[in-house]
Amino acid sequence: MSARSGKSATHAAGERLVVNPIDCEAHGACAELLPEMITLDEWGYPIVDPRPLPPGLERQARKAVNACPTLALRLLRADGR
């Protein structure tokens, strides 16, 4: 249980996006920055594609993670840690 998601730069493969629904306050920045993986529901909350991040979207995904005002969006390694 060491490297938390986002802190390690070495493992791009197999990462997936996870939103903490308790922290999320529907600011919607994530859907604006990463429409390929995130859409908003009719109340403004993100619907996140649960599949692993496809190659080429890592940089955009990290931008979306960093843009979340409540730090609700995270990138998780495939093993869930």
Partner: protein
């Protein structure tokens, strides 16, 4: 728990359908339906089989191996393999060099269920044995038993009395604390339980990491339903082969079920997994009408037409074909004089009010879903009501920190299918029911009659 529970838990179904040695957990008929004190408990089940050894991940110890062979799964509703949870806690404790905690979950916050309160009332020592044995297998130094706040019998008082007996007999090696969960629907959810025991509010938190990794006080934590621990205590004494003498090969053992029929009184009966539902349904299975329906798995469960339910057996392998699950063993027959649509709308409203309100989709979706169901029940649907219900049910599913939105959506969707004819009838200002008295139990704080909605 009601008086009827204590008087009727050995009903006809369990006698006729139960092979050999059921009930295993509850007192046998000839022992009377009184709570078993320590002497009676030890006379029936024998001494507590401590193994005098703490497991390690490389060598998990005899108990965990026996639990794996037994195929015991969690009896709180999720049916997760117990040995996998035990192993996960053991590994996390070893890797993180933390001493784990063990929690017996008797919060039973589902209003339709009464089996955990009945077990704790009649056989508290079996649960407390299981708690000790699980604590020993993991090397835990903290053991907590949680009961539900609002039961007819003083379950917490009964457990306290049992704990005094055990202290006097020097039986317990890990001291047991008793906690009482508030009477809210989500308080028994395991992250809510750990959150409240850690001093926070009794509402769910977001995983990961899992509780088995970081739970109470950041320690690896085992949370098991009280019945699961009672089953574990029996397996520790009698072995996995004995456990598998009842049940199905894929889902072995017995379980406690809460059966409600026309009189609405809960009957707690110990059944083998795989029992034909026909044996538990009474009249609803013998002479089903098109309106006859059965609710399986409680308020996060599913409605099925009684004629369909009567062809199934109570095990997940079979029920999955109908999209249903055993859950915590709640089987409710809708009485012929009640309306399933009205009942479902009342329960949906309760479930919406019980949302912790933490997650956007649940906070926004559940009240809308509940209100739309009321529109159908009161015969005042908008042109898009059904369509809205389907969409919102899909939108909330899988998007909460806990499974409350998922379970609520499953319940509501199954009501729309099972009571489709009733929805049409209500749109024409009619209803098949002759009684408007509420049937499904909903705690007093929520609305009780149709008048409360408008």
């Amino acid at each position: 728990m009601t008086a009827a529970t204590a008087g009727a838990f050995h009903d006809g179904a369990s006698r006729s359908a139960a092979p050999n040695d059921l009930p295993r957990l509850l007192p046998r008929v000839q022992e009377g339906k009184r709570p078993q004190d320590l002497a009676a408990h030890l006379a029936r089940h024998g001494d507590l089989p401590y193994r005098d050894r703490i497991g390690t991940p490389a060598s998990p110890g005899a108990l965990i191996r026996d639990i794996e062979k037994s195929g015991l799964t969690g009896r709180g509703g999720a049916a997760f393999p117990v040995h996998r949870k035990l192993t996960a806690v053991l590994e996390a404790a070893d890797r993180r060099r933390r001493i784990p905690a063990v929690i017996a979950n008797g919060a039973e916050s589902e209003p339709a269920s009464d089996k955990d309160a009945t077990l704790l009332w009649l056989a508290p020592h079996l649960v407390l044995d299981g708690l000790q044995l699980a604590a020993e297998a993991l090397g835990a130094d903290t053991a907590i038993l949680v009961t539900h706040a609002d039961r007819e019998h003083d379950v917490a008082g009964r457990v306290r009395q049992a704990l005094r007996e055990r202290v006097n007999a020097r039986l317990d090696r890990v001291p047991v604390q008793l906690a009482v969960a508030p009477a809210r629907f989500l308080s028994g959810q395991e992250t809510a339980l750990v959150n409240s025991l850690g001093g926070g509010p009794s509402i769910p938190t977001f995983m990961p990491p899992r509780i088995t990794e970081r739970g109470l006080g950041a320690s690896p934590t085992l949370v098991q339903n009280v019945e699961t621990l009672a089953q574990l205590a029996l397996i520790a004494r009698r072995g996995p082969r004995w456990f598998r003498e009842v049940g199905t090969p894929a889902e072995p053992g017995s379980m406690l079920a809460t059966i409600r029929r026309a009189d609405g009184q809960p009957r707690i009966t110990e059944i083998p997994l795989g029992i034909p539902l026909r044996d538990l349904l009474g009249d609803a299975a013998q002479n089903p009408t098109p309106e006859s329906a059965v609710l399986l798995g409680g308020y996060h469960g599913m409605w099925l037409p009684a004629a369909r339910a009567a062809t199934l057996t109570l095990d997940n392998q079979t029920l999955e074909r109908a999209g249903a699950r055993v859950g915590a063993g709640i089987v409710i027959s809708l009485p012929p004089d009640r309306c399933g649509l009205v009942e479902s709308a009342r329960v949906a409203r309760y479930l919406a009010l019980e949302s912790a309100g933490q997650c956007g989709p649940c906070l926004n979706g559940l009240p809308r879903i509940a209100a739309a169901l009321v529109e159908l029940a009161t015969g005042r649907p908008r042109p898009t009501t059904i369509e809205d219900l389907q969409r919102w049910s899909g939108l909330v599913t899988g998007r909460g920190a806990c499974h409350h939105p998922d379970g609520t959506a499953r319940f509501v969707r199954s009501a729309l299918v099972t009571f489709a004819a009733e929805v049409d009838r209500h749109a024409r200002g009619r209803c098949s029911a002759t009684s408007t008295a509420p049937f499904l139990p909903v705690p007093a704080a929520a609305a009780e009659t149709e008048a409360d909605w408008t």
